[in-house]
Symmetry: C2
């Protein structure tokens, strides 16, 4: 490090510490605000998004042209793009969050003890949440809105390619906070998209209570490695669908095509199809043909490559079993029974969402019990892995770790609790 | 590091990795074992403790004479001591854990979606839990038993002073596992009490899912600083009792004496008494006199030192407000109203257990809302901070963090969950 960069880094550390302290103070204020005030801020933010729609789209245009110049893929560019419909969708999303029941103050348990003590377990905010995410700028509104709803301050770190768009969206959220008389510092973002700022953020355990990283294995591992703060990982989905020997063929075909092809870019999309050896002759040709006619590229093991399905099947190499394509590509592997399927999934999956298709209830139950994932499905498409589809409302994402919250993370999951004990002078014998 | 210590360290790393992999494999087996098998292991371990009582007491005698030679305090020696009653208490504790309802497989939520998907949220084990604790050897039985009950493998690291006692107890737990046909590696301890082994343990994120440190601020901070694994901190209790201006004097006196003096060595003992300025003349003399006659040393601020209570009051220095005495000593401070009390507690407390004594319901509710602690009490002794007193059965301790579990941590709190989704071929539109 040169003397000059060391000075710059000291400046950044000091700026980050100010930001952390401001977030901590804002969190204390937010925790005491009533549900009306938090919901007013969400409503006002939605209005601001609509008012500032043109400005947000103009900021997005700057990000888009930089991204095009950098040669980002069409899929990435689509993730980044904002138009008036997408801005309106963000505004509607904030209004929907405002309409949820209040996640705070919920009585999670209540008990009366023989000695007369009344014990209540009450939902409270976590405090300050740091959220690290990649390209989609709408996460700024969704994640910020959920933190605000649950009484938490948030420090956001979006991808550098969406910096202008996210900045414009954040201004609207802060306008909502101001209008509701809440501190602007309740929702902030890092002063720079420089990686060094993330590194500093991950050490700020005094002022940040939880880090939520959303993204691929590289990002998650870096964060878990560096963070001095508890991490709730949202790893991308490397999801499997397993066609058991007793699967209904038509159902298996429909589920496989939907699980892979409905939307290829979401984390609940199936990336690897496992087919039981006993279903290879009976089921696999139809399943593969349906995937191919839906426009999917097949990468298979030797058995799959040898199938005659009217098109050639590429070879799946070792790396394919660990690849989240997020594209119209699927890897297909023949497995020797349920044990083999479960063992492949527990080794290669991202503990996100896994499915079995079978008419055999015993096999289904064994799969549900033994697969180690946030969501395990029987006879359903992995694309249902979504807080909205679960009836939980908006979500920050699907937590793939086992601590605190697992599966869809909405406003309720961004809370902790405390025990309130009410007595009339009891002392312990 | 010399070449020789480097080799020794490599050996230790390799031994620790073997231990971690064995724990991971045992956890997978344990997760599939039914409740009867886990309870059989607990019952058999209780029997083994009774059978081996003499051997355990002999091992404890070795620890005791080393501790006496080291000059440990009488309080520390008492924590370390095992006699036949205490061994019997451990056996009864394991039997009580066996009698609890099964924490696994509990249906935490169930919902049926409009599209016919059935969604169930089911309790599952966390996996492998590393537990780091200090002197009391009985923690080996309690913590090991709770992990086994909840289907988790455990890696235990007790204090070096109790190494022989803990080893003898662990052998009984492992005998129970063997007898029930479960893998011995489900409960292991570090091969050495060398601090280096703890350092290695804290990096084993592949094989350990959660670290539970129980102890003082130094231990907790070291673990939080070094750990690459999520930490559920059990910080010692720096608990306060606040006598509000509208407190009933007799109740305030009884609670203060009980909260401090019933047992001074437990984490729920009050260490600092806050007295509202408006209660100084009316309440404080009686409260202080009662504490003194119960054998308590008083350390006070200027106002408290000036009180005439028939004995001299020592000066409380800055450090006293951050000291957990675990002894017959209390620091006493006069505060200017509820705001001042809450602010002192949120700054100096360990987020464990805090109490207010008052007849004013509004003041009580404000205190319950604004104090940031796992347990907040109104008109009750802080000594009630205990899983058993909460009706939750045995506990590993009181979690002082906000992530995953807060407050008493029993078998239920050592679980995660997964969502099971059952369909009949649904695909997402």
């Amino acid at each position: 490090m040169t003397a000059e960069t060391a000075v710059l880094r000291d400046d950044l550390v000091s700026e980050m510490n100010d930001l952390g302290r401001a977030a901590r103070a804002a969190a204390a204020e937010l925790a005491m605000a009533g549900p009306e005030q938090r919901n007013d801020a969400l409503q006002a933010a939605a209005e601001a998004l609509r008012d500032q729609s043109d400005k947000i789209i103009a900021a997005n245009a700057v990000d888009m042209s930089a991204a095009e110049a950098k040669g980002l893929s069409a899929a990435m560019l689509d993730r980044l793009l904002l138009d008036s419909d997408r801005v309106e969708a963000m505004a509607l999303g904030l209004e929907a969050i405002a309409d949820f029941p209040d996640p705070l103050g919920r009585v999670l348990e209540e008990r009366s003890r023989p000695n007369g003590l009344q014990i209540a377990k009450i939902a409270v905010p976590l405090g300050v949440i740091g959220i690290i995410y990649e390209s989609r700028p709408n996460v700024t509104a969704d994640a910020g809105g959920l933190c605000l709803k649950s009484g938490n301050a948030a420090i956001l770190r979006g991808g550098s390619e969406s910096a202008n768009s996210s900045g414009a969206i954040l201004e609207c959220l802060q306008a909502g906070l101001r209008k509701a008389g809440l501190p602007e510092a309740a929702l902030q973002r890092l002063p720079t998209t420089d990686r060094a700022a993330v590194g500093i953020m991950l050490t700020m355990s005094e002022d940040i209570d939880l880090i939520v990283p959303r993204g691929g294995r590289g990002l998650i591992e870096r964060v878990q490695q560096e963070s001095r703060i508890p991490v709730m990982a949202h790893l991308d989905g490397l999801c499997h669908t397993y066609i058991h020997g007793d699967a209904d063929k038509e159902m298996a075909t429909e589920i496989a095509v939907n699980a892979k092809m409905r939307r290829t870019g979401i984390c609940g999309a199936t990336e690897t199809l496992l087919v039981d050896r006993s279903a290879v002759e009976s089921h696999l040709p139809d399943v593969l043909k349906a995937l191919v006619s839906a426009g999917c590229e097949i990468r298979g093991d030797e058995t799959v490559q040898a199938m005659e399905i009217g098109t050639s099947v590429k070879e799946a190499v070792a790396q394919d079993w660990d690849t989240e394509y997020l594209d119209s590509i699927i890897s297909v592997k023949v497995v020797d029974g349920l044990d083999d399927a479960v063992s492949h999934i527990n080794q290669h999956g991202s503990h996100h969402t896994e499915a079995i298709v079978t008419e055999d209830q015993t096999a289904a139950q064994a799969f549900l019990n033994r697969v180690d994932a946030a969501i395990v499905m029987h006879n359903a498409s992995t694309q249902y892995a979504d807080g909205g589809e679960f009836g939980m409302g908006a979500e920050i994402g699907i937590s793939t770790g086992k601590l605190h919250a697992r599966g869809p993370v909405g406003a309720d999951q961004l809370t902790s609790y405390k025990y309130l004990v009410r007595g009339r002078g009891q002392v312990r014998p």
